[in-house]
């Protein structure tokens, strides 16, 4: 029986971790330590439910309910002077708790503060688009859809942005394979030329950097070329290189490399 490998997280894993290794934590501070953040948090808490809030590396992190994202961002923009949505995206926690975490990175230029609004959604759940509040969300939400498959309700053009429209899968999911399988090797050949051309074209080389060092006819044997399939002994005669075409070259009447003179000394 084959060994079972979990398919919900197929990303690279550390090959060794000490049994007794305990990861340290990036310190979290209480929001009360910063007067500006404390006031902002109080304003958010007055209207919306906040499940957790702290300061980490100088920025406030606020966990809200997924249904409140539009309202919270509107409050931040209109009343708390957070005028820019600099970044937003998602984190895949499907393997652990079947959830996505979404973060909105906000910037207030007047207060010189940055706040990260975070929320969890279930797998398959859509978020409310904040495109009408911040135009930057137009492309961010499309990128999030492209990379994670999370749709934004009310977005005017919910399509892939970086990958082609016919792409299968969402690459930043942890379930997305890191390299193709035997089906992937035929995918483009089938799509472009049809299955019947498989014999002529052969499977796609998925790793173009891969060099089979025993396959010696793939190497460029400059000056010692042999027809494909020849058994290579290593004693092939040197072939004089001549790139002159069969019927002669346009404008050049008679050129013979052997009878022409090569001038080595340009100062002659």
């Amino acid at each position: 029986m084959r060994a079972y490998t979990p398919k919900d997280d197929v990303q690279a894993k550390p090959y060794y971790t000490d049994r007794f290794y305990v990861s340290p934590q990036v310190p979290k501070e209480a929001v009360e330590n910063d007067a500006v953040f404390a006031a902002d948090l109080a304003a958010i808490k007055a209207k919306f439910e906040v499940s957790d809030a702290y300061i980490q590396v100088g920025q406030m992190v606020v966990y809200i309910h997924a249904k409140d994202n539009y309202g919270v961002l509107e409050l931040l923009r209109d009343e708390l002077e957070y005028t820019q949505l600099t970044e937003m995206s998602a984190i895949d926690w499907l393997a652990k708790e079947n959830k996505f975490e979404i973060f909105y990175q906000m910037l207030s230029m007047n207060k010189r503060k940055r706040v990260r609004i975070k929320m969890f959604i279930e797998n398959g759940q859509a978020v409310n688009s904040v495109n009408e509040l911040f135009r930057s969300a137009d492309w961010s939400e499309r990128e999030m859809f492209d990379m994670f498959g999370i749709e934004a309700n009310g977005h005017p053009f919910m399509k892939r942005i970086l990958l082609p429209y016919d792409w299968q899968g969402h690459p930043l999911l942890k379930t997305y394979p890191l390299e193709g399988d035997e089906f992937a090797a035929w995918y483009e050949v089938d799509k472009i030329y049809g299955k019947e051309a498989r014999d002529i074209i052969g499977p796609e080389l998925r790793d173009p950097a891969k060099v089979d060092r025993y396959d010696s006819d793939r190497f460029a044997r400059l000056g010692h070329e042999v027809p494909k399939g020849t058994v290579i002994t290593g004693h092939e005669p040197k072939i004089e290189q001549s790139y002159q075409e069969e019927g002669g070259v346009f404008m050049i009447k008679k050129f013979d490399k052997k009878s022409s003179v090569v001038i080595d000394d340009p100062q002659r």
């Binding site: 550390p14 340290p24 934590q25 600099t86 970044e87 910037l107 690459p171 930043l172």
Partner: protein
């Protein structure tokens, strides 16, 4: 008549004439020489005027965020070079700073000074490149040649430092790998002394040039609201009336110790952006003069350390690795397994030549980042074309793309 496509006949999507109105759909790119990379713009035209613009990106997508999730932290550094490849040290720096903030490292002062020098040299390089290519798009060949000549001097200085001209990888997590070479300061000073005259030459060629003014003034106007809403940063934001420079407002490295001004304008058009690029080059030169003095002070005070001392995360110096067993063991673990930053997350924004370059890292205590989001300024500066281009004419597209200063290495990542 709409074309029926199958897998053997190519789909000519360049121009379709299948509408009842006069609207023409024109594909601008992805191989257009003035698109500054792989930008495809689908433009809906009424005569020569654009009524709708749809930027299409992704032709240079390499999945850097995915790559980062499957690499140890130090391995990712050369990949960041390939984001904004016009000023690659600024990407190296943004990533290094984010990891340092995550770990809580303090970088030695001498390394900070060298990093600032590299960053500002990169800024001037990037702005020169911007000026050259934009002027070339408008048709000013002389400016292109002049600006590339000056950029070449800077590339030579950088090459002398790290051996590469474009993809520097000159900054490490925790400091810089090398001290600057002997000729660095002399060459830099020679260049900086010449730079004001060079900038004046460009301005003499452009500032009162009738063609330049017609293509730049009152073209591509971005209002303050639009620039904020689209998440613009850098010169795009400052040209639209917001004086916001992260070096000034949220100082990192030693930017709080140097004197420089933040040029900004409330005009919001192409010409305002052009002026800001020119002024920023002057300010960068000012910063570079000051960092040269700071470097001299470091030498005088015998501050020789270039890498932070944190054995859990950063390899020891070469001398220690070669002479001390424990340093060698640490180095071996850090190279083969990689450093394991604490559990937590960080978003760090730096002012790259293009704007706010941000790195969001979510670490779960493993040697690979659990999630890494690259916030590249050009991404939104491309997106804004959707709202910016309608109403303009086809020739304006070229000058607007020019002044947005987008680089597709970082748009597509």
């Amino acid at each position: 008549m709409a074309q029926i496509t199958n897998r053997l006949t190519p789909f000519f999507e360049n121009i379709t004439f299948d509408r009842d109105d006069n609207e023409l759909i024109l594909n601008f790119g992805p191989q257009h020489p003035s698109a500054h990379g792989q930008l495809r713009l689908m433009l809906h035209l009424q005569q020569e005027q654009i009524v709708k613009a749809h930027p299409d990106i992704g032709y240079l997508h390499r999945g850097m965020e995915k790559m980062a999730e499957n690499m140890i932290y130090n391995e990712f550094m050369p990949t960041t070079d390939r984001m904004d490849y016009i000023a690659s040290s600024s990407n190296n720096y943004g990533f290094a700073l984010a990891v340092e903030k995550l770990i809580g490292l303090e970088v030695p002062r001498r390394a900070k000074v060298i990093r600032m020098m590299l960053l500002e040299i990169n800024r001037i390089m990037s702005h020169l490149f911007w000026l050259a290519t934009t002027a070339l798009d408008i048709g000013a060949m002389t400016v292109f040649l002049f600006a590339f000549r000056e950029r070449e001097y800077l590339m030579d200085i950088i090459e002398g430092y790290c051996g590469a001209r474009l993809t520097h990888s000159a900054i490490r997590i925790g400091g810089v790998p090398l001290d600057i070479q002997d000729s660095f300061l002399v060459q830099l000073k020679t260049f900086l002394d010449k730079l004001p005259q060079n900038i004046k030459d460009y301005e003499d060629l452009l500032d009162t040039n009738r063609i330049w003014l017609m293509r730049m003034e009152e073209v591509g106007h971005i209002s303050k609201e639009l620039s904020l809403s689209w998440g613009c940063s850098g010169p795009m934001l400052r040209a639209s009336g917001t004086a916001w420079d992260i070096r000034k407002e949220e100082p990192y490295e030693l930017y709080d110790e140097v004197e420089f001004k933040v040029p900004f304008s409330d005009k919001g058009d192409n010409f305002a952006r052009y002026r800001i690029y020119m002024e920023e080059m002057r300010e960068s030169a000012k910063i570079l003069y000051q960092t040269m003095d700071m470097y001299g002070a470091c030498v005088k005070n015998n501050q020789t350390e270039l890498m932070a001392h944190a054995p859990k995360y950063i390899s020891a110096s070469k001398l220690d690795i070669m002479t001390q067993n424990y340093s060698l063991m640490q180095h071996f673990v850090l190279v083969t397994q990689g450093m394991r930053p604490p559990v937590g997350e960080v978003y760090v924004a730096t002012e790259s030549p293009k704007g706010e370059l941000g790195f969001y890292i979510n670490s779960q205590g493993g040697p690979y980042p659990y999630r890494l989001k690259l916030r590249a300024p050009s991404f939104w500066h491309t997106g804004i074309l959707t709202d910016l281009l309608p109403g303009h004419y086809i020739p304006d597209v070229v000058s607007i793309i020019g002044t947005t200063n987008i680089v597709f290495g970082e748009v597509d990542r």
